[in-house]
Each structure stands twice: as C-alpha cells, then as structure tokens.
C-alpha cells in the first residue's frame, strides 16, 4: 500500500483546514502539553475487569487535536500499517466535528475503536510524528482515534461505509480476527459477497479470546462486527474450513476466492523438564478460559480456572502482560513476570508495562526458567530459574541473553503461565492441499500481493507472520483485499 499524497494535499488545501491552521500559530500549538489519559485507580482496577483507560473528555480531545500541526507532508501516516489519514481525522476533532472524524477513520480502518486501544502507537504513527524531532511527546494519535470512534458509537449514529453495487463474486474469509474482518470490509466495499467462517462460537478471533476486557471491552468488538453485518458481510460460526467442509465443497457452493486469516495456533513451550505439570498454562489457554469462556465468573459459568497466591508468567510481550494482569485480578498476591532479557527489550507496549507496574505486578528480569518441580500430585510448586546477562545483539537487534553459569535458584509458585509466543495454527496447512508452508508452519505468500501458492487464495496475519500485532494483521487484510480485487479484475 502506498500513501496517496496528492489526495491528502487536496484535502489539506480545503478552506476550512487552512482557516483552522491559521486559527492558532504553530508555536502556540507546540506549547500545549500532551493529554493525559484518564485512568481508573491502579489498586482498585487490579481487582476488577473494567477497562483501565477511560478515554479523553471532549475538551481534552479538542485541545490535544490542536497540538497537531497539520504538516504539509504528514510523516505519521507512513508509520500506520493501514495508512489512516491522520491529520484529516484529527483536524475534524479540532473543529468539533467528531462524527466526521470517525468517518475519516473508517475510510481506511475497519476497526478504529480497537486500534485506538491496542495498537503500539509509540512504534508506529506516533514515532513518526514531527514532535519527535522537537524532542517533545508526539501528538496522542491513539487517544484521539479512540475518542472519535467511541464518540460515534456512543451517540448511536454509526456511519456504515458505502458499498459498491454487487459484482456477485463470492469470497470466503477463514477466521474472524483482525485480518479477516479487515479483508471482509474492504472486499464488501468493493461489491464482493463476503462470508466469514469462524471456528469458535464467537466472532472476533484474538480480539475476543485473547485481549482481556480491561484492555478491550468486548462490546466494542461486537459493535464493529454489527456494522460489518449491516454492510452485508455474512458470518458463520462453529465452522472449520478444511474440516467442516473442504475447499472443494466451498468452491462448489460458488466461492471463487479465499482469504486465510486463521491466526495464531499452538502455544510455544520451552521444552524444559516439568513443563506439562498440572497448573502450568499457556497464555492462550489462560486467556481463552477467562476472556472467551468467562472462567472468572466460575461457577456461574461452567469453565473453571485455578486461582492461587503466587503466579508466574514467562515472557515479556503483550500477551504475557495481559496474562499477568489477569492473574492479579483473579486475586494473586504475587503476580510475577519472568523475562530473560531486560525491560528495555520487552516487546510489550510501553503503556502495558507501565500499567502492570502501577497495578503491583512484580518483574523478574534477566531470569529464565530451566525446570519446573512438582508436588506429589504433579502440581507445579517451584520453578528453577537461572540468571541471564545480555551479550551481543542478535538478528532482532536486541541484545542476546546468555545464561550465567551457577546462578540457578528456585522460586515457590502455584501457577505458571507460559507466554512466549505461538506457532501458526496447523489446521489449514493440514487440510488444504497444495499450500506452500515454511518450516515454521507459516504460509508462504508473495510479499507484495499476499497471494499463496494457490492463486485464488490470499492470506495474512499470524498465519503468515507467525506472531504479530492486531494492526499488522489488519494491514495484511487490507493489502490482500487490494490484490484479490486486482486478481479478479484481471481474471
């Protein structure tokens, strides 16, 4: 995808935008302090599942929007995987046109209320903001994105994107996570008849089974899905493409194109002794039990979850943070992150690490488990860990952790949650013949077109990337839709 700077220039040249720019000198704008996100109190919120961030107030949002300088060449857009017209939506907020702002967002982003909450803005749009050059905190693009889309949803005046006249071409989307939803919306806008097949009993993929309520309330995901339904996207749950019906069966039903967004699969473990002891979870299992199955409401809900005083979470990514903060909310006295590198190398969003610390999460960095020790019932009771030090940078650019010999010691623990990543879901490669797969189990795609080795099948998100973010998955969905459209035009 490339940014259409010509179109942006034209929008920027509109009279109202010019007037708005003139209404306050740039120097004055840069003097405004970045908005502070209103949050729930750490020691209260760590006992419930309410959303941590409360969202900007209208007044705050307008002031924050004034900070945006409406640059002639907005670099922020290049930092966004779906190339949102960032100054475009922010200037609408400054003008007080919140509904218009939401519309601008929706032109390029199927799930703005989600992205405003879970994107790692500090590594994306906000990292490219002009304020960085002035050594000042960037415009709070994520907060503003969330503000505009929440405003729209809360007023009940949700705009449904325009849909082209139907071209009667049926396409199937496998998986209803962020990449699939984005692909579906883009194709639907272009006039395709889209059906999304979901294996689970709820739609949203990682947005519903993975990301906790306190970071992304499920009603927001539902609202986004409702608007896709209104556009005409069909949703089929409890259906596993490749098993419930094969590709050929779906082709017989008239589907001509496919998008695979089947997402993350099998949790990774470290293959150390004792890892299959009782009360050792993968993050996926722990979070799925709680988010999708509502085990935190056990026994009102039938799915159980073990609650305990001492919980260790292995890993330093967003999933690990979600797990450890969830464990705290389930009553853990000690909820501990064990991470083999230092805090600087943690892949989690800065805000999540910050929130975790506020909530009383303990961090044991430069430490790595080497063995789990069980009691007589095979329940984990201790972790043997070893201390690490940082060596030379590895291929990811982060300094490689090295074990310090003789530094092992044990920690008493009741529950361990392993959150060190996932391998791609094996169901699709197992059941669709002719798809090229890498040795890691991810699907091979043309990087430009996201086309798989079968020309009418496109793919994106974690099934291609192995493990990434919501917004990168969405970027894939968008890119795949563009190239699927080209494929059908040239067919």
């Amino acid at each position: 995808m490339s940014v259409d700077y010509e179109a942006l220039k034209k929008d920027r040249a509109q009279e109202w935008r010019e007037n708005l720019r003139k209404s306050m000198p740039a120097k004055e704008r840069t003097q405004i302090e970045r908005a502070k996100m209103p949050e729930n109190e750490p020691l209260i919120r760590n006992k419930n599942f309410n959303e941590v961030n409360k969202g900007l107030l209208e007044k705050q949002a307008i002031i924050e929007a004034k900070r945006c300088l409406d640059c002639p060449t907005p670099t922020c857009i290049s930092g966004c995987p779906v190339n949102i017209d960032i100054p475009g939506f922010i200037k609408q907020i400054e003008k007080g046109n919140f509904l218009e702002s939401a519309k601008v967002l929706k032109d390029t982003n199927a799930l703005p209320a989600v992205c405003g909450r879970v994107c790692p803005q500090e590594n994306q749009c906000e990292s490219k903001c002009i304020y960085n050059k002035m050594k000042k905190p960037s415009v709070a693009i994520g907060y503003l994105e969330r503000f505009a889309s929440d405003y729209e949803r809360n007023t009940g005046k949700v705009s449904i994107p325009e849909v082209a006249k139907s071209n009667n071409i049926k396409v199937a989307v496998i998986g209803s996570g962020p990449s699939g939803l984005t692909f579906a919306e883009e194709m639907c806008k272009l006039g395709y008849k889209v059906t999304i097949f979901e294996a689970l009993h709820k739609f949203g993929g990682v947005l519903v089974y993975g990301i906790p309520e306190f970071r992304l309330p499920k009603k927001i995901v539902r609202a986004e899905i409702n608007s896709l339904e209104k556009m005409g996207v069909k949703f089929v749950k409890n259906f596993i493409v490749g098993r419930s019906a094969g590709l050929d069966e779906l082709k017989d039903q008239g589907f001509q194109g496919f998008f695979i967004g089947s997402g993350a699969g099998l949790p990774r473990f470290m293959n150390i002794p004792g890892e299959n002891l009782v009360n050792i979870y993968s993050s996926n299992e722990y979070l799925t039990r709680i988010n999708l199955m509502k085990a935190y409401k056990f026994p009102e809900y039938d799915t159980p979850i073990i609650r305990a005083k001492r919980v260790a979470v292995i890993g330093g990514g967003n999933t690990a943070m979600d797990s450890v903060r969830t464990a705290k909310r389930l009553g853990a006295e000690h909820a501990i992150i064990i991470y083999r590198r230092s805090e600087e190398e943690m892949p989690a969003r800065i805000e999540e690490v910050h929130h975790a610390k506020e909530e009383g999460i303990e961090f044991l960095i430069l430490t790595n488990p080497v063995e789990y020790i069980g009691d007589t019932e095979d329940k984990v009771k201790q972790i043997k860990v070893q201390k690490m030090e940082l060596g030379e940078p590895d291929e990811s650019g982060r300094r490689r952790p090295k074990p310090i010999p003789g530094s092992e010691y044990t920690i008493d623990i009741d529950i361990v949650i392993v959150g060190i990543g996932t391998s791609p879901n094996p169901l699709i490669p197992q059941t669709i013949k002719g798809l090229d797969v890498t040795r890691w189990g991810t699907l091979v795609v043309n990087e430009e077109t996201l086309q798989t080795s079968i020309p009418y099948i496109f793919a994106g998100g974690d099934i291609v990337r192995g493990g990434a973010t919501v917004i990168l998955a969405m970027g894939d969905g968008k890119k795949a839709a563009e190239s699927a459209h080209k494929y059908f035009i040239n067919k």
Partner: protein, 275 residues
C-alpha cells in the same frame, strides 16, 4: 442451534443422542471428535463421534454423566437444541489392512471405537473385539459391535456378564493364542495405560485414542497437551490417536484431574440448581 432428533437412555448414566449437523455428518471420519457447548454459560467439551447418517444429516454421540456438562447433555431430549457444535476435529484414524486387529473398548469408550473397529473390518482385517466395563449395566453397543466382529468377547470386573476380569486379561488370552498385528484401544486413561504396558511386553503395535481436557479444540490453547515419546503433543490437532507405547499416561492422568475440586464445586451447584 443444532437439534437433538433422538435420545435413547442406554443405562442409568449413559445416553445416546442423535443430533442434526449436515456438514459434520457428511465429512466426519472414524476417530474424529466434535466440541459441544451448551448455552452462554456452558464450557466447551470434546466428544468423539460414534456414528453418522449422511442422508439424514445427523451424528451420534454417546454421553456418560459424570459432571456438569455431561449431565446437561444427558438431560437433553428429542426436540431440544444445542447452541454450539463444531467439528469434525482431530486426525482421522489411519485405517489399513495389516492382519489381525484387536479392538478393545472400555465403558463409553466403546462408542467412538465403533466406527474405528468397523473401518478396520471393512479394510479386510480379522477383527477381534473386546468390550469391558465394571459391571453388566455399563456395557454399551453390544449388538452393534458384535455384528461385524470376527470374534467378540465381553469382560466385566465383577463377573456379572461375559468373562470376569480386566480387559488386559482378555487381550492377553488372545495374544497367547494367536498372532496379533495391532491393538486399538479406547476407554478410561488408566485402562489404556495397562493395555499399553501389556502389549509393549509382546511388542504389538498399539494405538490409543486420548480424551483430554480441551478448551477450543482447534489447535490454539494447548490444554490438551500430553507427552508422547518425550515430546509435547496436542491431542486436538496431532491426535487424538497416538502410539500407546509412547504416551505418558501417568502425566495425562494427573492433567485430567487438574480441575477435580472445581468440577466438584460446579457439579454440586448444578445438582442443587436442578432441584
């Protein structure tokens, strides 16, 4: 929503349910399972498919009430609906013609064994079927299994029906008598553990179909993991069938009991609410 079209109570705690689901009926193969969830508050539980009717678009499952979810399922009647049903899941059984095969089933494990045994017979094997249960009332699908077996045997722990003794004794009798090329077993984990120990002694290839705790059942959560040949395997996507001689049954048994206390809490609450 998926309609229950027929229910038959097989014994005090065991019922057979025939449920509408065209796609599963059409595409399921022996050895595969489904995940069922009942209502908003229900949990996702795996159940192996006993049979299907492609024309009517139905599948058959057999359920034994042991806890909240299985009891909820047992209490369904013809005309009721199940909110969520997905499948078929898992790798189908690798059916081949290898000679003489013992199909050994214990308790409700006999239900999923039925299509597997039938497939081995149809592939041209000599099929010796051995069913076992604690007592006579718990033997299910006797006539169905008998119909296509070359030899058929029943064992009960208390001797109330068939021969008295454990299933392993019945298997060992056959092994001592004639050459057995393969054993396929399905039932309680503890039973499969002892069958595996026995057949290992005689070096007979043995397949066990494992029924572990699952959440999603689609290769995502890892709740079902079990150690096989020293490696972590996932029953939902790598299995459910594995070389029984490589399965760490002790580890599996412990993991099956991981929620014992919670299951009791939930079940007593359920039974109280029923009243």
């Amino acid at each position: 929503m998926y309609k229950v079209v027929e229910k038959r109570v097989l014994s005090e705690n065991v019922a057979k349910l025939i449920i509408e689901n065209k796609t599963i009926a059409k595409n399921r193969k022996p050895g595969q399972f489904v995940i069922i969830k009942m209502g908003e508050t229900g949990e996702r539980i795996p159940l192996t498919i006993a049979d299907s009717d492609t024309e009517k678009g139905t599948i058959t499952i057999i359920v034994q009430k042991v806890g909240t979810s299985s009891h909820k399922l047992f209490n369904l009647n013809a005309g009721d609906h199940i909110s969520d049903l997905v499948g078929p899941l898992g790798q189908p059984t690798k059916v081949e013609n290898i000679g003489t095969v013992i199909a050994a089933g214990g308790g409700v494990g006999v239900a999923p064994l039925y299509p597997i045994a039938k497939a081995f017979k149809e592939a041209g094997n000599k099929l010796i079927t051995i069913l076992a249960a604690r007592t006579k009332d718990l033997i299910i699908l006797e006539n169905e299994m008998k119909e296509f077996a070359d030899e058929f045997m029943i064992m009960t722990d208390d001797g109330s029906y068939g021969k008295k003794g454990l299933i392993t004794a019945g298997i060992e009798d056959v092994i001592k008598r004639e050459k057995v090329d393969m054993v396929i077993c399905l039932g309680p984990a503890i039973m499969m553990k002892f069958i595996a120990l026995l057949t290992k002694k005689y070096n007979i290839h043995t397949i066990a179909s494992l029924n572990t705790i699952m959440v999603d059942g689609t290769g995502m959560c890892g709740a079902c993991r079990v150690t096989v040949g020293g490696k972590t395997k996932f029953v939902c996507v790598d299995g459910p069938e594995f070389n029984a001689h490589e399965v760490d049954f002790d580890g599996m048994l412990k993991r099956l009991n991981a929620y014992k206390k919670e299951e009791e809490t939930s079940y007593s609450k359920y039974l109280k609410d029923l009243k």
